[in-house]
Amino acid sequence: MIKIKNLSFSYDEEVLNNININFEKGKFYTILGPNGSGKTTLLRLISKSLNVNKEEIFIEGKDLFTIKSKLLSKKMAMVPQSTEIEFDFSVEDIVLMGRTPHIPRFCSESEEDFSIAKAAMEMTNTLKLKDKKINQLSGGERQRVIVARAICQDTEIILLDEPISHLDIHHQIEIMNEIKQLNENKNITIIAVLHDLNIAAAYSDSMILMNKGHVHSFGTPEKILNEKAIEEVYGLQVYITKNPKTNKTFVMPF
């Protein structure tokens, strides 16, 4: 689905160095790593928010460098880190903006666009908010609206940059469950940057652990999350066990 080949990137200093990853269709990926390890930069390069060079990232075999932004926006949606919106658009307006890539220049939204937006709002439990102003919502509600917009965009890939870092535990789980549902029911490929190792372990099929601009390791949560790797990457001593309820890998610092 997405293939990254010898990708390096620098602002002033080198941020990413020789990254090679192959993302498969329909899987749930998380990117982990300490602050400044290049997670967000990697996601921004995949979403083409930052300029990529030729033959570094391929989407379904096509070089991302040559894909037009309009076409890309039909394949890939992005939920950015900061979702603060200062303007008092209604929630429904914001969700409908997700239809933009599908609406031709001289047309308005069709009935179909409205029903897609409605379904997206139902899925994220935001339908009751639809007439509220976006800048009057709480952080958790706003985040769900942005996820609804990404769903409305109707793409095969959704990228999320720390979608739950500002939320309380209840909303964290709620949003992760919604994303997992999309992944399972609609076979959407998910790539999410997360900070919480245990939430990442509970939801993802595969993990990319990054350190100082390199891929430290890449594989299933059981394989990636071990005492040695966490010590190396985070400089932290941990005890690894299984969550007794879900039997997923569980990391406990001590």
Partner: protein, 350 residues
């Protein structure tokens, strides 16, 4: 309620706006030293509309009244109407692409840039009738586009254009350009009155020639900007969001900047610098319609037209027989509003 569900409602509202605009045009034509009644005014105007004209008899109206109305007042009013619409639409779209409520062609110095380009032409190249008008317009355009480019690049910090640096860059360039215009005035005393009238904005020289020029430039430009109203909405969500929704951010910025600058140059070359219209009108409209540019842009055009016709009518009839520059009237309305906005930024109206 979303835009589409309310579309019918807004259409009716817009038609009402057009109707009010027509009334204001007739009403404004009615004002002036020569006494022409409202009924006569309406009759003379209708006699010029192709089909209706057969039903209208203007023989019992004095010929001088007809000439005053058709050759003096009407072109001037239509000019004010077009300029008001253009300034407001440019203000609204600048605020959209800069994502900044203070962006306005006057505050950003673009109008002064155009004015400098035009005054240099007026002083050094003199005027050669219609060709002269187009040279003035072209040089105004050059002045405007160079200023826009300068302000944008001075104010830019990385990828963002913060409010403070944008305002500072705009205001300081504005001062510089105004000083250069004053300098030109001092060295060319025979032109001084003309340039003063012109740096403060005036429609006193308005004739049908200018109206045609503006109709050809302003109306298509407003349509071109309206086509991109939805993209402007998405720009308000921030550039990263806009990009992921398939908006070509850099391209859109350049497109809007070029069209706006063309409009400002055309407007400034016929009316001089008229400040604050581009600031007050879009904000006033936004307070009522909300931030959706598909509403803000057309309603700004209509409201701006009405506003400027009223201001110009005040400017030419408050101290007869002389007249005050219309820029003074718009500033008297505009500056208190600007201060109110600065004071009230906590209450996000934008």
């Amino acid at each position: 309620m979303t835009y589409l569900q309310k579309k019918g409602y807004y259409k009716r509202f817009f038609m009402a706006g057009v109707f009010i605009l027509l009334l204001v045009v007739i009403g404004a034509a009615n004002f002036g030293v020569a006494d022409i009644s409202f009924k006569q005014t309406a009759m003379i105007m209708m006699s010029k509309i192709p089909i209706i004209s057969t039903l209208i008899n203007v023989h019992d109206i004095k010929a001088t009244s007809i000439i005053i109305l058709l050759q003096l007042r009407l072109p001037r009013i239509i000019l004010a109407c077009l300029v008001g619409a253009a300034l407001s639409v440019v203000g609204a779209s600048f605020q959209g692409i800069f994502k900044n409520p203070m962006a306005d062609p006057f505050v950003l110095g673009v109008s002064s840039g155009a004015a400098l380009g035009a005054s240099i032409t007026m002083v050094f190249l003199k005027e050669i009738e219609f060709l002269g008008l187009s040279i003035i317009a072209f040089n105004a355009f050059l002045g405007a586009i160079i200023t826009t480019f300068l302000v944008y690049n001075i104010a830019r910090v990385g990828r963002k254009v913060p409010t403070t640096t944008l305002l500072l860059a705009g205001i300081s360039l504005n001062y510089l350009l105004s000083s250069i215009i004053s300098l030109i005035m001092t060295f060319n005393r025979e032109q001084i009155e003309r340039i003063i009238m012109w740096t403060m904005g005036s429609f006193s020289t308005g004739s049908w020639k200018e109206v045609y020029l503006l109709v050809l430039i302003v109306l298509p430009c407003i349509v071109l900007i309206t086509l991109f109203a939805r993209d402007l909405n998405i720009m308000l969500l921030g550039e990263e969001n806009a990009r992921s929704l398939g908006v070509n951010v850099e391209g859109l910025k350049k497109y809007i900047l070029v069209i706006s600058t063309v409009m400002i140059a055309a407007v400034v070359s016929v009316s001089g610098i008229i400040g604050f219209v581009g600031l007050i009108i879009p904000h006033g409209v936004r307070m009522i319609t909300g931030p959706d540019n598909r509403k803000v842009i057309p309603f700004s055009a209509i409201t701006g037209a009405i506003f400027l016709i009223i201001c110009d009518t005040i400017a030419r009839s408050i101290v007869p027989p002389s007249e005050i520059p219309v820029g003074i009237i718009t500033s008297i309305f505009g500056v208190p509003f600007f201060i109110y906005l600065l004071y009230n930024t906590k209450k996000k109206v934008f």
